[in-house]
Amino acid sequence: MDYGHSDRPAGAPPLPTAIKILVAGGFGVGKTTMVGAVSETRPLRTEEVLTESGVGIDDLSGVEGKTTTTVAMDFGRITISDDLVLYLFGTPGQDRFWFVWDELALGAIGAVVLADTRRLADCFPSIDYFEGRGTPFVVAVNCFEGARSYRLDEVQTALNLDPGVPVLLCDARQRESSKEVLVTLMEHAMKTREARRRAAGGN
């Protein structure tokens, strides 16, 4: 594992392990709010500049049609211990940035799908994406003021979720509530992993 960067002082502690959790959902559902509620600092913003390489790269007439797009991602950090750091990434809200999602989802330990019952359909693409990839996820219904409250089983039915997927209510502005969502996700991810190992070992 160690690639022998000899300049590092011999007595220096090993670098910690980093893991990431994604916070997904529709535009304005509270992704950055949740990231900020549990992170140790205010959410940071990082950007990817994407170039849509057009046809005929050597063709000068294509140059004016070449466009770049900047995709911003908000993220936060929770230092669990000296050797474990958790990063929370809010996913870019627009569906056309799926390729950024692929990079984010790679190696992610799990995902929170934030839902707003007034616009439930907004979280369908996120759910489809994580189901397709096999990324463990929970659905957290962000309780906006003025939104009609639904029973959790109604939300589960409306989203056509696998019965094993946890659905819970939350207030993304509240640290305790957001922490509970993350704990639920980690427990679900651990169970999912154990079940997959058993299934793989049983054949």
Binding site: D7, I19, K20, E47, S81, G107, V183, M186
Partner: protein, 128 residues
């Protein structure tokens, strides 16, 4: 790029460089790092307290070394230096090739030997 040494470099700092530096100008046109993949949560630490300027090492490289005196993820470096992640990856590749930074790529969930990381995160979150 000029090869006239430090005096030439010093003409192009701060305001003299203009208000906006295009991302690929910082990397001198390169879109891919010379070495490494640099996941967003790869952790980076500087191997030295200071780096003397040399050809191929620009102000942004020095800024990364300064920032990474404390362990930082690739995403954090990009956010603090206000440069796109792709640009930071190229600069980190230069630094890694010179052994000026040490990088730890993240572990995949499938590669975890047991549940200890999950349990540590759950306990850590509860203790926040």
């Amino acid at each position: 790029m000029t090869v006239q040494g430090e005096s030439a470099d010093h003409q192009w700092v701060d305001d003299h460089a203009g208000p906006v530096v295009r991302p690929y100008a910082v990397t001198r046109g390169r879109a891919r790092p010379v070495t490494g993949t640099f996941d967003l949560i790869s952790l980076v630490t500087a191997t030295r307290a200071e780096v003397t300027p040399e050809v191929g090492i620009g102000p942004e490289h020095l800024a990364i070394v300064g920032l990474c005196q404390r362990i930082q993820s690739v995403a954090e470096i990009a956010a603090h230096l206000d440069l796109p992640v792709g640009t930071i990856r190229v600069l980190l590749g230069d630094l890694a090739a010179r052994s000026l930074v040490q990088v730890r790529e993240p572990q995949t969930t499938a590669g975890l030997p047991d549940n200890s990381i999950f349990e540590a995160v759950i306990n850590g979150l509860r203790a926040l």
